[in-house]
Structures are given as C-alpha cells and as structure tokens.
C-alpha cells in the first residue's frame, strides 16, 4: 500500500507512546540505573561501572542456567513446530467438528500459567496423579522430585501440551487461506500428497511459521510459572531457568545491582536471537524470490 508521508500521524501514536513509555521506558531506566551502582540503602550508593556486568558474565551458575535455557527452548521448538504442523493438517475443516476441535485445541492456551503447573503437578504425582501412578504401576520408578531426567521430560511434555496449540492454530489459519483451486490444479497434475504439502501448503505456511517460531522462542525463553509450580527448579538446579534465577536473585536475595545487570543481559540475548532469526528468514525469502524471478 502506498502510504502518505504525514508527520501529523504522530498525534495518533502519542497516547499509545505515553502509556508504553510509562510501563516500559521508566522501569527500564531504573534497571539501567541499578546495574551500574551498588545500593546499600536510600542514601548510600556507589558508582560501580561495569563491575556487575563482568561479575554476571563470569558467573558459572548463570552459564549453566543459560545453557539449560537454550537446551529447553530448542527442544520444545523441535517438537512443537513439526507436531503443530501435523495437527493443523489433520484438523477438520468444516461442520460442528471443526468448531469443537478448535475450542478444545485452544483451551490449553487460555489457562493461567501457574494453573498449568498445578494441573501437571496433580497429573504427575506418584500417589494421586494419573500419569505418575500409571508409570509406577508399569514398573518405572517415575519421580520428578528426585530424578532430573524425569523432571526434564515432564516439563517438556507439559510445554508441548501447553504451547503446541499455538503453532497448530497459526498453521491452521495459514492453510485455510489456500484457495480450493490450488488443490484442484494439484489433483489434475496428479501431485502426490508430499508434493502438495511441499509446494502448495508449506510456502503458504512460511509467514505464520515465522511468527509462531518467534513467539515460541520468546515465550519459552521467559518461562517461569510452569516449572516453578511443577518442580520449583529442582531436583537441585536441574530445571532452574533464567527467569527463575533472576527472580531468586532480585526478590529473594535483594541483590539489586547484579540482578539489574543480569536483567539487561537477559533482555539483550532475547533481542539478539530474535533479530538474527528474523533477518535470516527474511533474507532467505528474498533470495528465494530472486531465484524465482
């Protein structure tokens, strides 16, 4: 669309800008302020420069949390994206079944995050949970409070349960926008099921998948409430992800300076990865278009 150049459009933006500035810029400035100072009390504080940043970047506990965070995010993406596409392909497209399936599939997305944790806590307990009890009856010594492997597997299963619907719904909406004529043309050409997917459906899904993968990466990188309720970060530190390390440091230990520095590093990592991913995808699409042209 040809947009008109008009700086008066700023007036339309202004109310939004003021509000977001209040809830984003002021707090962020507070964080920056803390990150370069050592605060003892309201009147005693020292300028420390980059000391907190250096300390945080060299903290082995945080390196471990960061590694766990990446391992977790990549694992859930690797499971949820293909599974979501698969579910979108088999979701019914019309009739009452379509509405019913749509509502059921969306349901996990609308449950408060700590309730998701509670649901899985109840579901996986060895004594009163269906899954925990069944696994034990089958002879597997399932115990998420003692075995890191069980805890990890459960958290990943929980995340798949919770967030695969997002990918599935995004893809479903992408698939719905393909005109019937495309499929008819494919049938006349006797295209195989795989080539229909590869050359008709997948290209239509690229846009929504970019949104889906970005959202999933961001959200999985900020995960807090679900593992906190389910495992509390344990056993040991094996399921302590970045958000939980940060809240423990900021609220639990009241280490304002270090936790502020940690916050900024954390935020920058998410921005950087999202930006790299986004640019890479956009360049790939551009190359692809140039080849076709």
């Amino acid at each position: 669309m040809n947009k008109v150049y008009n700086n008066r459009a700023w007036w339309l933006i202004l109310p939004m800008l003021l509000l977001v500035a209040f809830s984003a810029i002021i707090p962020l400035m507070t964080v920056v302020n803390y990150s370069v100072q050592d605060v003892f009390d309201a009147n005693t504080r020292f300028f420390t420069g980059t000391e907190w940043f250096r300390e945080m970047l060299n903290d082995p506990a945080l390196h471990a949390a960061l590694l766990r965070q990446f391992a977790f995010s990549l694992t859930v993406l690797a499971i949820e994206v293909p599974l979501g596409i698969g579910i979108a392909l088999i979701m019914p497209k019309k009739g009452w079944q379509a509405s019913a399936v749509l509502i059921l599939v969306t349901m996990p997305l609308l449950i408060p995050w700590n309730v998701v944790g509670s649901i899985w806590q109840i579901f996986t307990r060895g004594d009163i949970g269906l899954m925990g009890w069944s696994l034990r009856e089958l002879g597997y010594g399932y115990n998420i409070t003692a075995s890191p492997v069980d805890a990890w597997a459960t958290i990943i299963l929980m995340d798949v349960w919770h967030w695969t619907p997002l990918i599935a719904l995004l893809c479903y909406s992408g698939l719905r926008s393909i005109p019937d004529a495309y499929y008819q043309a494919a049938r006349i050409d006797r295209a195989s099921k795989w080539s229909v997917f590869r050359y008709i459906q997948l290209p239509k899904l690229t846009n929504v998948l970019v949104i889906g993968v970005l959202l999933r990466f961001m959200h999985s990188f900020m995960i807090y409430a679900e593992p906190f309720v389910l495992t509390g970060g344990g056993p040991g530190n094996s399921t302590t992800f970045l958000s939980q390390s940060l809240t423990t440091m900021a609220i639990g230990q009241q280490d304002l300076g270090p936790s502020a520095a940690f916050s900024l590093i954390y935020f920058l990592i998410i921005l950087l990865v999202s930006w790299v991913f986004y640019t890479a995808i956009m360049n790939m699409q551009k190359d692809h278009k140039n080849e076709e042209a």
Partner: protein, 297 residues
C-alpha cells in the same frame, strides 16, 4: 489428452470438476480418513486427559483423593466449589482478575486503534524504528520488570490496585494489539478512507462510523488475544498486589496449609480458571482462524 477434446476454459473447468468429484469418491480411501480421525482423537485425548484429572479431583473429597487412586469421583461432592463461592477470599480473586483484565482490554484497545491506523496509513519520521521498538517490548521478560514495577507503582501510590496490574500488562498487550490491528487495517483498501473524506466525513466520525465496523472481526480477535495474555499472566499480577486486588492465580498458592496442600480446593479453583477462556473462545471461534495469522494470510 486423447483425440480432440474441447479446450475452451468452460470445458476445461467442467472436466476438472468432474475429475475432482470422481477422485473425491475414489482416491480418498476410507482407511486414510480413519487414520486421520484416530490421530486427531489421540491428540484431543492428550489435551483433555490432564484437564479431566483436574476436574475429577475437584469433585472428590480430600479423604478420597488421598485415600487412593480413583478414575472417577465415587463420592461425588461439590464441597470445594461451595467453599470457593462462599469464601470472599476465594471468589474475590476471580472478581479481581476479571476486573483488571477488562480494564487492560479497554485501555489497550483505546490507544492501539489510532496508533495502528497511523502505522497502516501514514509514513512519518521514525515509523519503522518505533514499530520495531514496540515489538521489542513483547520480548521483555516480565521477570526483568518485576522490581522496577514494584518500586514505580509503590511510589505513585498505585500498589495493590486493579489499575496497576492493568497498566503493567499494557507492556506486552499494547504492542500486540497494534501489531494485530495493523495487519487487519492494511487489508482495508485506502480508497475507502479517501471516498469518506471526499464525502465530507471528519476523521473521528469516519473512524467510528465507517472504519471500526469494517475491521470488527479484527477487533474481536484482538480482544481475544488481549484477554488471553492478561488472564494467563501471574508474575506481574501477583507482585503488584497484596490483598486488595489479588488475582485468583495467586490466591491459589495459599492452598498450602499447615496440613499439607488442599488438593480438592486447588483443583476446583483451577477448573474455574479454565471456564472464562472457553467462553471467550466460543465467541470468537469463527474468526480465530484468521486472527491467529494476525490478519496477514
């Protein structure tokens, strides 16, 4: 192609349609449809099973829950629900949650509508940078903002009020609303604006009378997303409140009593947090497909 088949577009289309109908009868064997249905059913079961377990437990007494595993409530009881609906500590949690979610939806939509219109129709100094900066707010971990929010709202005297949580949730909901609405608005041809202005509509009148009705499904979907992200968030909501505006999600953490966790009440409270979501999805079910692509398919 054999012989002289007519190649007028009409005839080709007819043939294609006939081949199509034939294939639909033959080429999709019953077995494949069944495989599809089985897989779908399996996934739905996977989604429902943990929720069923929660529901099951909410109808059992605590002695039955701890007494051994039962696949359905043998002594059906509503005591946990009765407790939630009679104890103001519990039911006010729901009222508080719904209050701040509604406030957030109204505020976010009110400021996002004009902003999204500006982004979809005009170029201005810094528009791209501003849009990118907005999106970066979606990437900000709530944990980062925890402490500064607490101090900020405490200083301005808004701590433990509904509006504090509503404003805090604007951090991610306003950018989201602008992003979705911009997609829907870009789908409306610009000629409509121009014609309306030629017809003598003023901007506010055009916006309310003509433009908003045209993107009503987009607005519905946006409200759905605003509801969703404000309803499910807990970390900021529970940090910014203590007793006056406590969300239900943080009331639930109080079920850990001296005598262990009150599983039945926890399950009943959890079940009740799922219901508003289902009601909301039901209303937007016909637009959700387009909405999830953020109006960009």
């Amino acid at each position: 192609m054999t012989k002289a088949m007519p190649t007028t577009p009409e005839a080709v289309r007819k043939r294609a349609a006939a081949a199509d109908a034939k294939r639909r009868r033959q080429a999709r064997p019953v077995s494949r449809q069944w495989r599809r249905r089985t897989l779908m059913t399996a996934y739905i079961l996977f989604v429902l099973l943990p929720v069923y377990w929660l529901l099951n437990m909410s109808f059992q007494s605590n002695t039955e829950i701890l007494g051994g595993l039962t696949l359905w409530p043998e002594a059906f009881t509503l005591e946990h629900y009765a407790k939630i609906f009679t104890d103001p500590n519990w039911y006010m949690g729901y009222v508080n949650s719904i209050t701040y979610v509604m406030m957030n939806m109204v505020i976010s939509l009110a400021v996002a509508l004009p902003a999204a219109y500006a982004f979809s129709r005009y170029q201005f100094i810094g528009d791209k940078h501003l849009f990118f900066w907005l999106l970066t707010n979606l990437m900000a971990p709530p944990a980062v903002f925890l402490l500064p929010y607490f101090q900020l709202y405490y200083t301005v005297g808004l701590f433990d009020t509904h509006i504090a949580v509503a404003l805090a949730h604007c951090l991610f909901n306003i950018p989201l609303a602008v992003w979705i609405l911009e997609g829907f608005m870009s789908g409306v041809p610009k000629e409509i604006d121009e014609t309306a202005f030629i017809d003598g509509y003023s901007f506010p009148k055009f916006f309310v009378k003509i433009f908003i009705p045209m993107i009503s499904s987009g607005i519905g979907v946006t409200l759905f997303f605003l509801f969703m992200f404000s309803w499910v968030e807990l970390l900021l909501a529970s940090t910014l409140t203590s007793t006056g505006a406590q969300p239900i999600a943080s009331v639930m953490t109080q079920t850990k009593g001296a005598s262990g966790i009150d599983w039945g009440t926890l399950a009943a409270a959890g079940t009740l947090t799922i219901l508003p979501g289902i009601v909301v999805v039901y209303f937007v079910r016909n637009h959700i497909a387009k909405g999830f692509a953020l109006g960009r398919t």
